[in-house]
Amino acid sequence: MDSLYDVLIIGGGVIGCALARELARYDLQIVVLEKNPDVCYETSGRNTGVCHGGFAYDTGSLKARFCVEGNRMMGDLAEELDFPFKRCGKVLVGNSRADYEQLLRTMAQGERNGATGLRMIDGEELHRLIPSVVGEFALLSENSGILDPFMMTIALAENACENGVRFDFNRKVTGITRDADGIWTVETPAAYYRTRWIINSAGLGCGAISEMLGIHGYHTIGSKGDYIILDKRLGPMVPMPIYTVPSNTYMGIHVTVTTEGNLLLGPTAEVTQNYSYYGVEQKNLDGLYQEAMAIWPHFTRADYIRTYSGILSKWVNEEGVIQDYRIEIRDDLAPHAVNLVGIESPGLTSAVPIARYVIGMMQEREAFAPNPEFNPERRGIRRFADMTAEERSAAIAEDPAYGELICRCQQVSKAEIRQAIHNPLGVHTMVGLKYRTRAMMGRCQGGYCQMRISRMIQEELGLSPEQIEYNRQGSNLFYGKVREEAAR
């Protein structure tokens, strides 16, 4: 309550984290409030992880503009922040004359949007690129790619944190007021925060926060998509994401490879108003199976390793038509508040351009002094699985824990788990460690390693068994010890 922040960011998704990182370039006291125990817990982590090309959005829209810009810079960003990104290209496959015409329109729209590397390819070239795909022809987007959405968001957040931004987790905003001096007070059940600027990057909560800011009238809907994750044994057969012919509002079911080499089938698309339900329905699993089979019939149910779902927050008008991103500072209603509404796909690709655009709007109202100590570089945990034999030997010589594998499926060493437990954001949920190390993400789903990892968290941080949480608050793994250990 005592300190006064310059900027308070509501929401630790990819947009909030990109804002935190970009604002850290300036001499500002910044805090990010996140209602979950970690960043990247909702929309940002629950998607396909594709770096989009920018062809699927209406020309002139913010979505098109930021996507094209974000795509262009993603390689440099990934290098600077050390997160997995691969510019592997992507195909949109078609079979009929109508498909062909739609793809031509999509390509023309992309070119108008400034997207490059787009071209139609025939069946022969398509099958040279992806021998196993079903399709007569395709639109190839050479500059599309795949990224690890968790690591991208975590990298942005960690870089922000290392540059002085504070992250407070388990802080659900319940009220916002503005006093006569123009200082905002943000209420959470755990604490009050005072700030000069406020940014609503609350994703699924953007409508509710907008109301709290006194900006009324935005109608948002949730679009829920279910996915199936397949064993990474199949990864080499899909060198780039396979999409079907899109409309401007729905990309259709796709078969995508992740940076880890797993395949994703999905998403379905259903309107929902329940923003906390991430259950996957049987009918959607059956539907995904059917639709994915139609474009890539090389998997069986035995290849499933997990399912998940995500919800996009879409701003719709009175007719229910999905709108562009809305990014505004309403000097009349809520001065010194940036309101972001309907930030959905392509949000990962667009995150940093959005952040820079927002800062531009803020700087029109207040000049920020640069932060002379800002360091744009962030190094992630060095991964045993990605090392050459020589690098492995050197890493083990330096730290023998690199030679002790904790997660066998993903080949994650004890050294990596330990570093992740002591991550800059102070996150210690099981899922938080999973996102940071890839341990427990493989085909055995933690059957071998979760016991060791949960014990390491307890030992490294001095926590009791009851304090070990799976993901959210209240997701305790244990009800204590089986029995008290005898004194040694």
Partner: protein
């Protein structure tokens, strides 16, 4: 690169049994590679009894059974690397191992795959619903309780009647949890009859056959599951759904041989067993690479794992002496009513042990091995169930064809 005659991947019951047998038969240049800090494999966490009934005529606990072999390995001075994970096996039998002391490379004359199996997970089954904490495979829950002294459960529903699930129903009950019931999608139990009696009936835990979990609820810790009856196609029957409040769902829904290293070595796998395709020597499609125990096919009891590993050890000795084993030119196919057979290839020259599981429970049935019109072997069983592996010795006689079939009537 170091050299070794036999490199054994896995220091569980199969690997240890094979190591002892090889050494006792004079093959002494052996290395056992175990990724965990201690030998014994999964037996370490199986503190219930019932191990060694056939082999030692006594009911040992898992750790006691393992210790017999560990002691013998130590007594013989067989080299074992622990905390050592095999990263790769190549078809020409080069093995890369990672240890806290560094990377090691071996070239082996023969390799025994003895990596055991893993549990099928919720994700692999694609059970619909949310993903809260409190959904554990039976083996994970067993490990938490028996090895890590952590209590993961209070109000429990168990899906699947595999043996580990049954054992855990009893174990959880003994530790004060309340097991509300065991739900099995099949119309018959997956576990051994003795475990149904000793772990469920003796503790008044109901077994609901022909039921499955169709939804999982809770966004933090599990709050409940929805179960439903299934039809004969295993589809949930509308109107039979029942919500059961619980904080823990234990899954005992099958074991999958752990063959990722085998794939890398170019070993062909059988889609039914999910283990290697082998001949009567336990030799895989990669010459000099053998497989034994649950990595080859999931066994009912550890005594059989040891016996299989010892047979493979004898074959490995023969392979080392002769440089190659006789070609197994006859294919053995699982026919009508048979889920799978091991081995899948035989020489047709020597007597061999046939292992199989039937596809469905049967009474008064005949199992027949056919070589064209010729009946090679026939055995009558009063009762045959998928949960209990069947094996018998087969004398091949003179082969007429190269495609034999094992079927039930």
């Amino acid at each position: 690169m170091r050299e070794v005659d036999v490199l054994i991947v896995g220091g569980g019951p199969a690997g240890l049994s094979a190591a002892v047998a090889l050494y006792e038969q004079g093959v002494k240049d052996i290395l056992v590679v175990e990724r965990e800090a201690q030998l014994g494999g999964i037996l370490k966490q199986c503190i219930h009894d019932g191990f060694g009934l056939t082999r030692f005529q006594q009911a040992l606990s898992g750790p006691e059974y393992a210790q017999i072999f560990i002691d013998r390995v130590r007594e013989l001075g067989i080299p074992c690397l622990t905390n050592a994970a095999v990263l790769e096996i190549t078809p020409d039998k080069k093995v890369t191992i990672v240890t806290p002391e560094g990377l090691l490379e071996y070239r082996a004359r023969a390799i025994l795959l003895a990596m055991g199996c893993r549990e099928r997970t919720r994700g692999a089954l694609a059970i619909p619903g949310e993903r809260p904490a409190g959904v554990f495979t039976a083996g994970v829950a067993q490990s938490y309780i028996n090895l890590y002294n952590r209590m993961p459960a209070r109000e429990v529903v168990i899906l699947g009647s595999g043996d580990i699930g049954l054992i855990m129903a009893r174990r959880l009950t003994l530790e004060g949890a309340h097991v509300k019931g065991v739900y099995e999608i099949l119309p018959y139990p997956s576990g051994l009859a003795r475990n149904i009696q000793q772990c469920l009936n003796d503790y008044d835990i109901p077994l609901h056959l022909g039921h499955t979990v169709i939804d999982i609820h809770g966004d933090a810790r599990l709050t409940g599951v929805t179960v439903a009856k299934v039809d004969d196609q295993r589809r949930p029957i509308p109107g039979t759904e029942e919500y059961i409040p619980c904080d823990t769902l234990i899954l005992s829904v099958g074991l999958i041989p752990e063959n990722e290293l085998s794939r890398g070595a170019g070993v062909m796998l059988n889609p039914r067993t999910q283990g290697a395709v082998v001949d009567e020597y336990g030799q895989t499609s990669a010459p000099g690479i053998f497989a034994a125990g649950n990595v080859l096919h999931v066994h009912d009891v550890v005594d059989e794992v040891s016996a299989e590993a010892e047979r493979q050890a004898a074959a490995i000795r023969k392979y080392l002496e002769q440089g190659a084993l006789p070609e197994a030119g006859v294919t053995l196919r699982a026919g009508q009513g048979v889920h799978h057979v091991v081995p899948q290839h035989i020489t047709g020259a020597d007597e061999f042990l046939l292992s199989l599981r039937v596809a469905t429970p049967l009474r008064n049935t005949k199992i027949t091995v056919r070589d064209g019109d010729r009946i090679v072997a026939q055995k009558t069983y009063r009762r045959a169930v998928p949960a209990e592996m069947i094996h018998f010795m087969v004398k091949p006689g003179t082969p007429q064809t190269h495609e034999w079939e094992v079927s039930v009537e």
